[in-house]
């Protein structure tokens, strides 16, 4: 993956204002952006996914321009073909595991049926050992299962890159170690580019790849 980000955005939360000024480029298939909470990592990830609009700048992914304020380009989120793993997974509470995973396969106005079935769906249910809970809703799952459902939901549509927002923060320590290893294996197997943001130095050192540090809205430098 080659990703190139150069964006500015002013954010205001009550009396506090914040200047996001992120600028980085990477050709690595594993990019970790490390920084304390409130450093603007989430905002930057949302901007890459098209969920928040920068005031100005440029975002390119694999040679495709996703956002370019000077050229008036702003590809809508639904057409960016990036997978996004939300911090607390954002699984649809009213849909079962099958429907959650198949959600993006059906782009129209209706949700997949509770008995949805397809080759891709069967593959992911099996790959993540979710067959036994396929009919359950997210509130009946364990933390690890929830994360696997969220990963399967993001990956089934074969995105060109996967963005991960603090993927292990919601897990307890022992599970965190296991899920890191799972994600590591998954990245090797699928060879899909991943961009991960985290405030946990352990994530940065175990997940590896290129590590960038973000402080006060700016990507400061390389190495960690």
């Amino acid at each position: 993956m080659t990703i190139s980000v150069k964006i500015r955005k002013s954010l205001r939360a009550g009396p506090r204002s914040f200047e996001l000024d992120a600028q980085f480029e990477s050709a690595s298939k594993r990019v970790v952006i490390y920084g304390a909470s409130g450093a603007g990592k989430s905002q930057m990830l949302k901007a890459i996914a098209g969920l928040s609009k920068p005031d100005s700048g440029l975002i390119e992914l694999d040679g495709q321009t996703l956002f370019d304020s000077s050229a008036g380009i702003d590809v809508p989120a639904r057409k960016r073909r990036v997978g996004y793993l939300f911090q607390d997974y954002a699984l649809f509470p009213h849909l079962n595991v099958r429907q959650n995973i198949a959600f993006g396969l059906q782009r129209g106005l209706w949700n997949p049926s509770a008995k949805a079935d397809s080759e891709a769906l069967r593959y992911w249910l099996q790959a993540f050992e979710l067959d036994a809970v396929a009919h359950q809703t997210p509130d009946q799952l364990s933390g690890g299962q929830r994360q696997r459902v969220a990963l399967a939901r993001a990956l089934i549509a074969e995105p060109s890159a996967l963005l991960l927002d603090e993927p292990f923060a919601a897990l307890d320590p022992s599970l965190r170690v296991r899920m890191r290893a799972e994600l590591d294996a998954l990245q090797r197997r699928l060879d899909i580019p991943m961009l991960l943001i985290t405030h946990d130095p352990d994530d940065a050192s175990t997940f590896g790849g290129e590590v960038l540090t973000m402080t006060d809205g700016a990507v400061a430098g390389e190495g960690a």
Partner: protein, 224 residues
């Protein structure tokens, strides 16, 4: 007895249509107010909530001015479609719909605001167009709250008196709803009729409330 049943039938017909109109408009405007970011949002909210605090007779007067033969809307309808709403059951529907509208709007707005924004974002990243996000995520998650407001609006429409009397008058068998029939009976000193009407009204209200409780199971049960 027959006259009373006719009044009951008319009340139900008017309330059902008014509720249907309120449901469609309330969901639309409720979502707009919950998620839209545009100048004048607060003013729009205030205007749409006005029927809740204004006396129904004042609303009825406004409606007369607007949809009456010489009003801008009434004149236009008469001119182009030959439609006259004053002293018709359709006029009663409009009166009841206006009076009960804020109940659906308020419920829908808070129900949509309670939907986690991340779930809508997750749907967008998965490639679903805006209308799909609304129908597949926002509406199903807000549905319970919308339904509760809709049932309240139905009950309020059933009991509508002031605005209905101003706009539709009190024509037996045509625009004389239950609540207006009760008033007429008492005015005319027909105590037997009044008693019968009051009993019918009370029974109807109980049936509606019981049905409402069945349709909207309480949250403790529904959460499982």
């Amino acid at each position: 007895m027959e006259a009373a049943l006719i009044a009951l039938g008319l009340s139900l017909k008017v309330a059902l249509w008014a509720t249907l109109v309120d449901l469609v408009l309330g969901v639309g405007f409720g979502y707009l107010l919950a998620r839209g970011r545009f100048p004048g949002r607060d003013v729009l909210d205030a205007l749409l909530t006005l029927p809740m605090v204004m006396p129904p007779t004042v609303l009825g007067y406004y409606l007369l001015v607007l949809v009456g033969r010489n009003g801008p809307i009434g004149h236009w309808l008469q001119e182009h479609f030959g439609i006259n709403l004053i002293f018709t059951w359709q006029g009663a529907v409009i009166a009841a719909a206006v009076v009960a509208f804020p109940l659906v709007l308020k419920a829908a707005r808070s129900a949509f605001e309670a939907v986690d924004l991340q779930l809508e974002q997750a749907a967008r990243v998965l490639g679903v167009p805006p209308l799909g996000v609304f129908l597949r995520v926002s509406l199903p998650l807000a549905w319970r709250g919308v339904l509760a407001g809709t049932l309240l609006a139905f009950a309020r429409s059933m009991g509508e008196f002031g605005a209905t009397l101003m706009v539709a008058g009190s024509i037996p068998g045509k625009t004389q709803t239950l609540s207006i029939a009760v008033y007429e009976a008492v005015q005319a000193g027909q105590d037997d009729t009044a008693n019968l009407l009051v009993i019918i009204t009370s029974l109807t209200c109980i049936v509606v409330l019981v049905a409402a409780n069945r349709l909207v199971p309480n949250r403790a049960q529904g959460a499982a």
